[in-house]
Amino acid sequence: MSNAYFSLQREDWSLHRKGQQDQDRHRDKVKQAIKDNLADIVSDESLIMSNGRKIVKVPIRSLEEYRIRYNFQKGRHAGTGQGDSQVGDVIAQGRPDKQQAGKGEGAGEQPGLDYTEANVSLEDIETLLFNELELPDLADKTPDQIVAESFEFRDVRKKGLSGNIDKKRTLLESIRRNARIGSNKAQILPDDLRYKTWEDVEEPDSNAVILAMMDLSGSMGLFEKYCARTFFFWMTRFLRTKYEHVHIRYIAHHTEAHEVSEEHFFTKGESGGTICSSVYDFALRMIEREYPPDRYNIYPIHFSDGDNLTSDNEKCVKLVRELSEKSQMLGYAEVNQYSRNSTMMNAFSKLDIPEFRKFVIRDKSEVYAALKHFFSRRDGVKSA
């Protein structure tokens, strides 16, 4: 530059990736935070109630940049009016919008209002959550619908659908041909065209049925039902995402059991006493009728508050034994907020059957542990 007092330059910054790199690091940390807080997130009401909204807000505390700072809510702040401001004028409701007027130069972010809630898509959470889950001891059973049809692009041919043109190979062919005849023209003749073609692939899949059983008796309070439904909510999503041929049957019971629709299962409450043997009996009959154990992997999972009619317990134990023989895994989860002495758990605790898994949920964040307990290969997570 001729002038020593200033210079004006434009350089090539295309390799400058510092911001992006640290942004990735931040994203990794958000992911890690979701993973660490999965137990809280899984039982978060707003998430369950999100009704298919794709993005959910998850409070991620570890990523807020904490500082010793003033409480914005309690302080007095200065503002600029339009010439006629009076004491008592309302200038904002809720949080004042701190969008800096005048697109200021410095990165003058006001400290009072930085608030971290990461927007996370439901899909991200599911990916993380479902990675850890699987149907235990899924076995190959004799064929019913065990074939899942899918296709793979494996071959390249000279004829095909124009939507499936393989651009790279077509270009390569064209270059080759042009090189052969020594021409410099870059043109593509019909003879150069290459198409990707597919083959049908048959992937063996196993048949499985889940019997979702829930106690809807009067003793199941809001908290109990919430935990049970949260569990089944994630279970349903998990099974539908990961397995193609899984039947889910919903059975509700109080003193009697009956099959209900999915919607009813997730929304309605009933009342009455509790006889758990009724639901086991119902499940057994359903298995006999529709799901022969030599053709199906059967997973009955039962949620209750453990407040069973005492005289019924013996019958339950007997039925559970019977049901276990027919199932790959039989789960019993008890929602017991106040660590009551539960007659059911007492009765079941004497049972030592490998297929039979039990779990006690005391806090809603334990729903996550319950999911991992039931849907893991081995009896990994011990119930407390």
Partner: protein, 482 residues
């Protein structure tokens, strides 16, 4: 910006530089760089192109970039306090916008160079930060990324608690001087010279220090007097930090001291730059379209906000008011203060040299201005934010108070050997505004991370003296008995 525009811009800069010089602005040689938006936003997020890497910068980069992409806000430029002075212009700006920006940064640079607050900032910070970033990268390789990141998390949380005042600097120089004397016991021309300015090689003086001397320094954890520089106290006296950890914290502290004057002069500095870009652009030959575009851009920059103070808007108003009042003093001012007319510019240059935001607002935000600008105070009343005060003195005093210490709560280390157990006791100098308790509770573990023993912070919650204590696991609070 295409090549033609670059050439036109270069020509305009030449003109504007001359204009600025004729106006009396005094700046470092300028280095203008035209960059794409993601580079500008990277620099904006880091505060400096060469700064070390940390996820929190990535987070703000992402946020700023997103707002830019959505058209919600934009940075026009970024200027670095250094010699030569670097200014980064946005490639996506129009030619006229970049001209305005160049005029604007000339005044910023004049301010950096001449304002007293900036006197002791390192003008070679671009290189220093690059060197620091290198060291931190080296530590990452040696001690693991996780370990370094966790330390920086803690360091950044506390980094605002430094002492940038002249008193703080003098006190430290004195300590250094004493240390030097006790070690060497001889006259040293550098430390004893009256005009002792900081040189980049000061730290070489401690090279002769033996390992024993260093060892001896460690146990003196009792704070001699209340120490505002929490970072320095931790760096010097923490019983648990490794040498490399002290180095990382020193880097953060040094960078904070460099940025500190910018926090203390936000309103003045932006007002000054806005005042001068107006004056310089008025002297330029603009086409009709350009004049309209400039007017639009300028009015966007000084757009006032109902819920905050726009430093460009308020700063410009005060500067223009100073010019007016010293150009045309009243009868009274002439008699009582012997103020001669026509001294506007001279007064402005004097103020730009001597004051910071606190003094600027206290001395020059007049009753007339507050009423003309319609400034008020608002507060949360129930669920709404309502105007609660329009009395000019209260508005001015509250504004001044909000700029004290750059708007950051003032804390002092009271004791480094609290409970005779080497615990750290810090007191918040409560002046009517409470701390954000959630944030305080979450910052305590960071304090514990660097101190390694129980930490206590005393503040006032709803009128009662309260002490927050952290023991490595939990933060507890208790009231101080009267």
């Amino acid at each position: 910006m295409n090549n033609e525009e670059m050439a036109a811009l270069e020509q305009s800069i030449e003109e504007m530089t001359q204009l600025a010089r004729d106006f009396g602005l005094d700046f470092y040689p300028m280095r203008y760089e035209v960059c794409p938006s993601d580079v500008i936003y990277t620099f904006g997020a880091y505060g400096m192109p060469t700064r070390f890497s940390h996820w929190s910068f990535g987070k703000s980069f992402h946020k700023m970039k997103l707002e830019y992409d959505l058209g919600m806000s934009r940075i026009y430029e970024l200027v670095i306090n250094s010699d030569p002075c670097y200014a980064f212009l946005l490639d996506g700006n129009t030619l006229l916008q970049n001209k305005t920006v160049c005029a604007h940064v000339l005044a910023h640079c004049d301010f950096f160079k001449n304002n007293a607050t900036f006197r002791y900032t390192s003008r070679d910070m671009v290189e220093r930060m690059a060197a620091s970033a290198d060291r931190i990268r080296h530590y990452e390789l040696k001690y693991g990324r996780q370990a370094v990141e966790e330390l920086i998390d803690a360091g950044l949380a506390l980094s605002e608690h430094v002492d940038a005042s002249t008193d703080g600097r003098n006190a430290r120089a004195k300590v250094k001087q004493q240390q030097y004397r006790s070690r060497h016991g001889e006259y040293d021309p550098v430390f004893h010279s009256v005009d002792h300015t900081r040189s980049p090689y000061d730290d070489l003086w401690s090279i002769g220090e033996t390992a024993e001397a260093k060892q001896q320094k460690k146990p003196m954890v009792k704070a001699r007097a209340a120490q505002k520089d929490i970072m320095l106290f931790v760096i010097e006296h923490s019983p648990v930090l490794e040498e490399w950890e002290r180095d990382v914290l020193s880097i953060l502290r040094e960078e904070m001291l460099y940025f500190w004057p910018q926090m203390e002069t936000k309103i003045m500095n932006e007002g000054w730059a806005t005042y001068w870009h107006l004056r310089i652009m008025r002297e330029m030959n603009l086409t009709d379209e350009e004049a309209v575009e400039f007017a639009k851009m300028h009015s966007g920059v000084v757009l006032p906000s109902r819920t905050s103070i726009n430093p460009y808007h308020l700063g410009l108003a005060i500067w223009e008011d100073i010019e007016k009042r010293w150009n045309n003093p009243t009868e009274e001012e002439r008699e009582r203060h012997h103020r001669e007319p026509g001294q506007g510019r001279a007064k402005m240059f004097e103020v730009r040299e001597m004051e910071n935001d606190v003094a600027f607002l206290r001395n020059y935000l007049t009753k007339q201005l507050i009423e003309d600008l319609d400034l008020y105070l608002y507060q949360k009343v129930g669920n709404d934010w309502r105007v609660v005060e329009t009395d000019w003195e209260k508005v001015r005093d509250s504004l001044v108070a909000s700029r004290v210490n750059g708007g950051i709560p003032v804390l002092y280390v009271e004791d480094g050997d609290y409970n005779r157990n080497g615990e750290l006791f810090i007191k918040h100098e409560y002046e009517g505004v409470e701390l954000d308790l959630k944030h305080l509770e979450k910052t305590m573990p960071y304090l514990y991370r660097v101190w390694g023993r129980n930490c206590h912070v005393q503040t006032v919650v709803e009128g009662r003296e309260t002490i927050f204590s952290h023991d490595g696991k939990r933060t507890q609070r208790r009231f101080v008995k009267d």
